[in-house]
């Protein structure tokens, strides 16, 4: 479980996150929604220790990210909004293996896991391609394969559909659903598009760095959505 307890975080003197308390239970699909600038990405980056709270704590399976950010990152994969910047190497299969290299995998095992991840994303045919020659949708799948290869327990998707066309949007949402339902991976989806939370069990709504709703999706109503600045 990822537990965010009384978290405050700010740039300079202004707090971007104020007294956040959120729990992401194992096996769930949680959508974190909010208007632009509500602090969604900042909160998400706390989950794998990319950002440390100024006050409060974030625990991943009981481990505090401040004390052991490396282990938090092993458990929590992060798919970034700008996947162009997420690709480190220029050849697809090499980039997918980057995280595994850091985990100390030997070449044969690494190759095997990379092939498996590419197969899962149905992009095995792109293995030898240069990442710069891929379409946005393909780059997104390569970035995701790189995370999946590390076999994280939780995956955070930070506005994954922003730069994608309708077909690729649908594809990435289906992959998230499949990962959650079939592979029991805990999914955290950061979005400001209401239609994208259709597969979510739980919803956290942020407004100006504070949680204004945290619960089952069925309990979410138009009033809260409007208050968050997302509805008409």
């Amino acid at each position: 479980m990822i537990s965010v307890k009384n978290v405050y975080f700010g740039y300079e003197e202004e707090f971007v996150l104020k007294d956040i308390n959120v729990e992401i239970k194992e096996g769930t699909f949680t959508a974190i929604i909010g208007a632009n600038g509500s602090g969604k990405t900042t909160l998400a980056k706390h989950f794998n220790g990319l950002i440390m709270p100024d006050k409060g704590s974030v625990l991943v399976d009981g481990m505090e990210t401040k004390k052991d950010s490396m282990n938090a990152r092993k458990k929590v994969g992060f798919v970034f909004q700008n996947f162009e910047d997420q690709l480190v190497y220029s050849v697809v299969e090499e980039d997918v293996g980057f995280g595994l290299e850091n985990l100390g995998y030997g070449y044969d095992k690494l190759k095997c896991v990379v092939d498996e991840a590419l197969e899962k994303m149905r992009i095995s045919h792109l293995a030898k391609q240069n990442v710069n020659s891929l379409s946005q949708g393909q780059k997104q799948l390569v970035a995701l394969a790189g995370i999946l290869a590390m076999k994280p327990k939780y995956i955070v998707f930070d506005e994954p559909t922003t730069n994608l066309d309708e077909k690729n949007k649908k594809n990435i949402l289906n992959i998230m659903k499949e990962l959650n339902k079939k592979d029991k991976v805990t999914i955290v989806l950061i979005t400001n598009v209401l239609g994208e939370m259709k597969y979510a069990d739980n919803v956290v709504v942020l407004k100006k760095g504070a949680v204004i709703f945290n619960g089952k999706k069925s309990r979410l109503n138009k009033k809260i959505i409007k208050e968050a600045g997302l509805g008409d």
Partner: protein, 238 residues
């Protein structure tokens, strides 16, 4: 524009040069760069040029792509020749030699990056820079820096093109210094943002400077054959 961006980027092909050990290729780049400097007479320049053309043909690099990619350098070549014509017309031959050397450097580097995937370069750089550990320098950091630089060259050009187009669409005049300064500032801003995103992504995938690349490198028969070729080249030229 987009096609130009992939000039010099790795392309997977089944050729002898692609199969060569990346370490030996890096060493060749160093040796050939020294040879370029030592080549002064017509004989050595011709032999060296033929050798490079042979490498390009063996690597199956499209000649048209090279010629198109080199377009950006034509201005520098013309500028160099003009300088020689104006300031030292008696030494025009040296001017052509200088341009030839410049061209050879580009073609040598191009052949390396076209035939070697970044992970291979990283592994080779890591292995070759191991002695630097004595000075507390981590080989993986050097290798990663180089690989990121190569990976992000096209991204930088794309960013430049986007900035330029967005300014042109709002009628920016690039003859004005103010607009050129603006492009530089915007580019720096975008590049710093990209660098920040990349560092986050690398931390997410638990980048560890102490870990060594797992890519196995071993010399094979092609490497030994290539060594013979390079030694013959050195002997022919000198």
């Amino acid at each position: 524009m987009i096609k130009k961006l992939y000039f010099g980027q790795y392309r997977h092909k089944e050729t002898i040069l692609h199969y060569l050990d990346p370490r030996i290729k890096l060493i060749y780049v160093m040796v050939l760069s020294i040879l370029v400097f030592l080549s002064k007479d017509t004989y050595s320049v011709t032999i060296f040029s033929l050798f490079i053309v042979l490498c390009i043909l063996l690597a199956k690099i499209d000649i048209k792509t090279i010629l198109k990619g080199l377009r950006s350098f034509y201005f520098i070549f013309i500028f160099l020749i003009l300088m020689y014509i104006i300031f030292s017309p008696g030494q025009l031959r040296q001017g052509f030699i200088a341009i030839w050397r410049f061209l050879m450097f580009i073609l040598i580097s191009l052949t390396l990056t076209f035939t070697t995937p970044i992970a291979g370069l990283v592994a080779a750089l890591e292995r070759l820079s191991k002695p630097l550990k004595i000075f507390g320098i981590k080989p993986r950091n050097i290798a990663t820096m180089v690989s990121i630089a190569i990976r992000f060259i096209p991204v930088m050009f794309i960013n430049f093109e986007r900035v330029r187009e967005s300014m042109l669409s709002r009628l920016a005049d690039f003859k004005k210094m103010k607009n050129i300064k603006l492009v530089v500032v915007l580019m720096l801003h975008r590049m710093l943002k990209s660098a920040s995103n990349l560092s986050d992504a690398m931390y997410s995938r638990i980048y560890d400077e102490n870990v060594e690349s797992s890519k196995p490198l071993e010399f094979k028969k092609y490497d030994y054959v290539s060594m013979v070729f390079v030694i013959i080249l050195i002997l022919i030229i000198y």
